[in-house]
Subunit: 422 residues, 2 copies
């Protein structure tokens, strides 16, 4: 991606493609006489391209890596030469569709123990689907146990592993825990610039991972992992500390002894990732980006209290610039994101300082089990999540003409008046 | 759309476009030198187009219908000249993206009374998201009350109404009740052929709507409605019998007296639609397709018992044709749908006779409230839904390399062996 974008002749080629298309369109027959069917598409004189989704037209006779009997989708059965396999597949399947990111999320197969848990999971999933629709990403929700013994926080590894094989067209898999809320629908990860030289991006700080490892040195609840051989191997190495291995209990002891402030000798995915990075720093670290400056996810307790104020900041900008408050089709929202970015920058709003949090992560709230961290009450988790979900939903509903006047009341929505901030 | 597809010169134009592209690609610079970043995209020599999602680039200075202060997203505030407005908008926003269908679904804002209800809603939503991802449709889940008084089964009307305005790029809005399960991931509605001359398509029978109206003469839980002025007016007329009007109680009486087998004098969306079509047949019927032959949705009680047998039918075909059981990327699944269609036809499997049901609708099961129809037990609803959801999930999981061996156990998934049906 990066090497293409750096190629200065790209623009010329795109221009040539546009020209070629214009020539073709010139030959298009004059628009058919409108018929009285009430269909707008029949009234539109501009010819439309065939839906792009239909462009995945493989030659079904050609063999791909999928035809190799030894290919596995499972953890514990490593894949070899994945980069070559993906490259060959992509050669056979050129497509204009830009689905380069697949978000993977999920929850346990059974109903939640917490009575409100499944209701929250439904809304947390809706929030991610909204985000992905607006930003053009695919999303896959997994609630099956793809490895019988890898449940709970370990279930993400087999889910990501199989999604990599199912989606050779995707350059990145974006894992997002179910309890994370997208609170800035305009946020897009800088995968092809800031992260272009990395294979794993996770929120954390190098100090607390490599030098003085703490179990909160990174947060394994949200990460981007490149769909490549390196990642296949990383996932296998990471999974070796999981509950499906005979050494699971031993790993619990090791992690507790090597990672400070790890209280219980039970191997969890997050401490295991930290330990792996620390222990095999030379092997992995040059492809790992521990993000602590740019937006990736934030801890809810420090964020939910700021949401009302953030709303005021944005309304303030809308008051000053009519074009920010214009109504528009949901599909063109991203063109407005770029505009917003300029105004936010000019106003001095930044991450953690007046800007919408990109992802508000309800770490420790455990909405499904209800076993929240004793540090805070269940009510504060519940109320915080309610606020964050409605704050996000207001960004979505806006395209549909509505707004929740009260962030603690998800049912009520009122029509957004025209030029509402005037 | 239809007039284009009928135009015999279309193929020539498409061929010319392909030729033009080939010429452009010939001029593409040779592939850049691979860099050691582990990124497959940097190793792929085939040039990639810019992600298509980025093509919604409006000229922000241009005014659209959204800038009209009188535009409303709400029921009760009719829109005029919608076809012209949409056409003008589409002229300003040409895009290659084929998002011509937006699925709209949803549920009540509050948690379900039925303890298992929200868990089922989560899985029912996942099923729709899977279907839409595989088929390239956008999906919007609404759980806010877009009209304070239009709750329950009436909530769909304001949701569809606002989605029409939010998505001028969509030719069709597809409403699907939360309790409907997509049980054939290969199913695609024939919107641009069978339904091309219609604005509203709903499962039903003309006899039981126009001639001898019954409250089950059609099923208002699944319908396609064209994004056009006709539909705007239809929704307004339909909504006039809803709970937000002063005449709501009177309408309950009228419906009960005019529609046979309507037991309670309470106006509901389905009976209201039937009554409107019957009463104003001349005004609406030529644009309404009451579908009773092709797949649109089916009543669960008659379908869930057949799913094991249907699975056997499909496995039987896979045993005979290796190419049907080949593994593949999820993105190319639709190319295989066409292949499947041929084999199913040759084997004589049809709707209601050996083929997968397209949509299995759990009418009367009321998963959220738990107030299921006394005709059947809650357990039969629950078990039927479990079977249908896992039957569907097996079609999804297949691309991820797994299968639920037991349709009543959604947790268990085992790796699908290579060439499994051999």
């Amino acid at each position: 991606m990066s090497s293409f974008s750096k190629n200065t002749s790209l623009l010329h080629v795109v221009a040539a493609a546009i020209m070629a298309f214009l020539i073709v369109w010139t030959f298009w027959p004059s628009s058919p006489k409108p018929r009285e069917t009430g269909s707008v598409s029949q009234l539109v004189s501009k010819p439309r391209l065939k839906p792009v989704d239909d462009t995945w037209c493989p030659n079904l006779r050609q063999k791909t890596f999928y035809d190799d009997p030894n290919l596995s989708y499972s953890i514990g059965r490593p894949i070899k030469n994945w980069d070559d396999k993906r490259r060959d597949w992509m050669r056979l399947h050129p497509s204009g569709r830009g689905d380069r990111v697949v978000m993977v999320t999920g929850s346990q197969p059974s109903p939640c123990r917490n009575p409100i848990g499944d209701h929250l999971l439904l809304r947390l999933f809706k929030n991610k689907v909204d985000y992905c629709r607006i930003n053009g990403y695919d999303i896959f929700y997994n609630n099956a146990l793809l490895h019988r013994k890898m449940d709970n926080y370990w279930a993400k590894i087999p889910a990501v592993r199989s999604a990599m094989v199912a989606h050779p067209e995707a350059e990145w898999i974006w894992w997002v825990d179910s309890d994370a809320v997208f609170t800035d629908m305009d946020f897009r990860p800088p995968l092809e610039d800031r992260y272009k030289d990395y294979n794993l991006v996770v929120g954390g700080s190098p100090d607390s991972v490599y030098d003085n490892p703490s179990w909160i040195g990174l947060n394994a609840g949200v990460f981007y992992i490149r769909n490549c051989q390196w990642s296949m191997e990383f996932l296998e190495a990471w999974a070796e500390m999981g509950p499906q291995t005979p050494n699971y209990e031993k790993w619990g002891q090791i992690l507790a002894s090597r990672v400070k402030d790890k209280l219980y000798p039970i191997s969890d995915d997050q401490t295991a990732m930290i330990y792996l990075l620390m222990k095999e720093k030379e092997k992995w670290s040059d492809k790992v980006f521990l993000e602590h400056e740019y937006c990736i996810q934030g801890y809810w307790a420090g964020l939910v209290g700021t949401l009302e104020n953030v709303t005021r900041n944005y309304v303030g900008l809308e008051r000053r610039a009519r074009r920010l408050r214009r109504r528009r089709a949901e599909k063109v929202g991203r063109s407005y994101s770029a505009l917003w970015e300029k105004y936010l920058e000019a106003a001095g709003y930044r991450k953690d300082a007046g800007k919408r949090p990109c992802v508000t992560h309800f770490t420790g709230c455990q909405p499904c089990s209800g076993d929240h961290n004793p540090m805070y009450t269940g009510d504060s988790c519940r109320e915080g999540m309610e606020r964050a979900l409605n704050f996000a939903d207001n960004q979505v509903l806006r395209s549909y003409g509505f707004v929740h006047p009260d962030l603690l009341d998800s049912a009520s929505a009122v029509p957004l008046p025209f030029d509402f901030a005037a």
